[in-house]
Symmetry: C2
Subunit: 487 residues, 2 copies
């Protein structure tokens, strides 16, 4: 197959190409100057469309198209031939144009929002460098920044005895780690022998917990119906529930877990940010007694998706023992440096993104104080909105907010004199979906709604971003009224 | 807590601030113009240091520092106070400087390498827009581009009956999906009742498979010792093993799976790229008979970490049935658009990064033909290197390469006349770690090594990037000889 070969003595750059398997081999086939020139053309588009306009309160949050319409606009099909750079740049513009602007001051739809410039620069750096966190040798800076961030988070949790941890691709995966570590602690044989050799294991959680607990029970072979019964091995406590922003009583749960030797996991993915605030950290009182904690800085702390820490308490090698597979091609034991920095085998992943770095850079820029101020401001804004809701006709709080979730119904004028029977609530239930449809088609804001337990559809307003102003809170209520007053 | 409030009728911008819980609320506290100015200062640093220099063959691949030294240089501690922008920009420079340049033409250490400008622009766009893929309403463009990419990948696999899929955070997680879907197919009750109510399930794989299969067996409660025995439910076939680049015989495995009704999963994370090549796709002959496939475009196709598809064959809703938790706050049934585009409940994650978009954009730019050329060139380069190794004294192939993994020993002059007994191999075993240490400290290149089965430490050269030139192959052999000839 090899047709010819150059002499190794020949001077560089003057060597004839070789033909191998029909491919002519010589210099590189990707010209980095051309690549740079494309990047230079693309960056102003990204800065203008995906940063400046995407965070401008005067622009739309979204430019709604139905799936069918958007498919036509985007011409998604992948073909044999490539396209020239101007065409690709237009595709970039289109992709940004029809995307939802999650950094917009009026994006309230999820448990994340806003855009932090330091985190974004951190993300651009890691995307350009494209590292993977398995070993120190290929990701030294990112292994150490992850360690530094985890150390500080563990200190803030209050684990004076220390701890261990890693960043995972999402709070759901962090909660899965918790289930796995907890059952391993209870039955170390489970790693080798599996659940079929174990007693029936069950776990406890509240009805209000995130759905990832059910997903974890299914995925890890526990079974969703064993989330309560036979041999209990863990309790999942939630600090900041997804819909209501409620906090489980951690001290009481810790007492029970200690009494019965149950692994106590705190899903603080959403509520963990309150730990940064001296004023609000009481919401998580007792978290230092947890065996493990999941905490997502990509939510209220604005580190950008994904940034999710899973941490276990104390001087422990349980992450390593529970998850290791000892791959010889990565985790060689005859390396010349301290291989305790090869943290990859603690993870269930192989390649892993350096999600801590952007958070570290932002933290460096803002300081702990700056992060605390953001949390305090978001919670003050939520309090402000709740008080405004109480004052306004046609708005009703579902409950006093404990955190940054403000849950409320909008009652259109036509319903305000209807008695509060089943018919009233049935009609209120139909209000939020229509208001949501109208706001999306208008692109004026995005706020979530859902039914919950015995409560009909209500709006759930989430407040996070430092770009949100008080006027945006007033606008929210005005706009819902504008969109829904005819219903 | 609420101290005062503005009248809603007051003109915008003229309203007095309100004090809530000690926080003064009024306009935004993050000035996007300042943020933009910081981004504008940071971008030239990223372009020069993390793109241009990081891919320049004349620069170092890495600037080695031990963990202890690097900690001192980086000043990692997170403090109460923030730092000014010039200091943060210096931190960006330092982080890049001491990072390994995985896009460098002489980074051969992992199953990914190189830098594609289109993919990088795609990544910058998604990092700036910060979307999460659960529902169409918050990620319309990224839901549709994922669908378009999966459709094309499924077509390339050869599933004429169609298929379903999603992108996951890594091949390890894709393989976990396969285990979960396979056992669910065999025992649908497992989702609710767990493994303790099932017969003992076992799975088959080869010794050469990726370690993520063992991790999956442990994490999902199967148990690592049940990876072969009682009630078999799946076979994991590997298309492109991690160390040797070997391919399991898919047709034969498919025959056995059909005969015994076993779920056939193909871990094509690494080898899937060969499907893009008419010349090389025979390596995966029979893959169209697989029930599920894991394929990582972030490896040989240069889509950038992470970009990992998991796909199941046929018109099936098994991903939904197997993984759904039906969270009411995301997957409302009373939406105004076609909710089949709300794909999030197929995933074990909640938040999920839009990893398909960058691949889609790159594919648009290069076309299928352009991707095929890259694969053909990488494999031709591997063939060239293998032939060079055969010609050179002191180099010996471990096996003829099937794919882009070229595995070889370097025998220093002092050993070349030693008889090939245990003493010879013991000394050869010690060569690679020392050569690796020296190349890292010099920063001239990065190439992996490992022992494997009964074979002592050998180098594993991986060829991917279109920026690699033929001279880099010659350099690799020259450099190993330079670094190791005194051993």
């Amino acid at each position: 197959m090899l047709k010819s070969s150059a002499s190794p003595a020949e001077p560089k750059g003057k060597r004839p190409p070789v033909l191998v398997d029909g491919v002519t081999l010589n210099g590189p086939t990707l010209d980095i100057r051309e690549a740079e020139s494309f990047l230079r053309d693309a960056m102003p588009i990204i800065m203008e469309e995906a940063v400046r306009k995407a965070t401008d309160v005067k622009e739309k949050v979204c430019e709604w198209r139905s799936p069918e319409q958007l498919k036509e606009v985007l011409d998604l099909e992948l073909r044999d031939g490539g396209e020239a750079n101007p065409k690709i740049l237009q595709r970039c513009r289109d992709a940004i144009r029809y995307s939802v602007k999650t950094g917009h001051p009026r994006f309230f739809n999820q448990l994340y929002a806003g855009l932090d410039p330091y985190s974004l620069v951190g993300r651009f750096i890691t995307e350009a460098l494209n590292p993977s966190l398995y070993t120190y040798e290929v990701a030294p800076v990112f292994i150490l920044t992850e360690e530094a961030v985890l150390k500080k988070m563990i200190e803030i949790i209050g684990w004076t005895e220390g701890g261990d941890g890693l960043f995972s691709p999402g709070g759901s995966v962090s909660n899965m780690y918790a289930v796995n570590v907890a059952r391993y602690q209870r039955c170390p044989n489970v790693k080798e022998l599996g659940l079929s050799a174990m007693p029936r294991l069950v776990m406890f959680t509240s009805e209000e917990c995130h759905y990832s607990v059910a997903k974890a029970a299914a995925f890890l072979g526990i079974g969703t119906k064993n989330v309560y019964g036979a041999l209990p091995f863990m309790v999942n406590a939630t600090a900041g529930t997804t819909i209501l922003g409620a906090f489980d009583p951690l001290e009481e749960i810790a007492d029970i877990c200690e009494r019965h030797s149950l692994w106590m996991h705190v899903d603080a993915c959403w509520g963990g940010a309150a730990l940064m605030s001296n004023q609000h950290r009481h919401l998580l009182k007792g978290i230092h007694r947890a065996d493990s904690v999941a905490w997502n800085p990509h939510k209220m702390l604005l580190a950008g998706l994904q940034c999710c820490a899973f941490m276990v308490r104390g001087q422990t090698d349980i992450l390593q023992r529970c998850h290791s597979a000892n791959a010889s091609y990565l985790f060689q034991q005859d390396k010349f440096y301290d291989i305790s920095y090869d943290t990859g085998d603690k993870s269930i992943q192989c390649s892993r993104k350096p999600d801590a770095f952007k958070f570290w850079l932002m933290w460096k820029a803002l300081g702990t104080k700056g992060l605390e101020e953001r949390v305090d401001r978001a919670l003050a804004m939520a309090r402000y909105l709740a008080e405004e809701i109480k004052k306004r006709e046609g708005f009703r709080l579902v409950m006093e907010p404990e955190y940054a979730n403000v849950c409320f119904w909008y009652i259109p004028p036509s319903l305000r004199s209807t008695p509060e029977g089943p018919e009233f609530w049935k009609r209120v239930h139909a209000v939020a979906p229509v208001v949501k449809e109208r706001m999306m088609k208008k692109g004026s804001m995005l706020v979530g709604y859902q039914p919950h337990g015995d409560k009909v559809n209500f709006f759930r307003q989430i407040i996070i971003s430092p770009q949100v102003s008080r006027e945006d809170m007033d606008f929210l209520l005005d706009e819902i009224n504008t969109l829904g007053k005819d219903l």
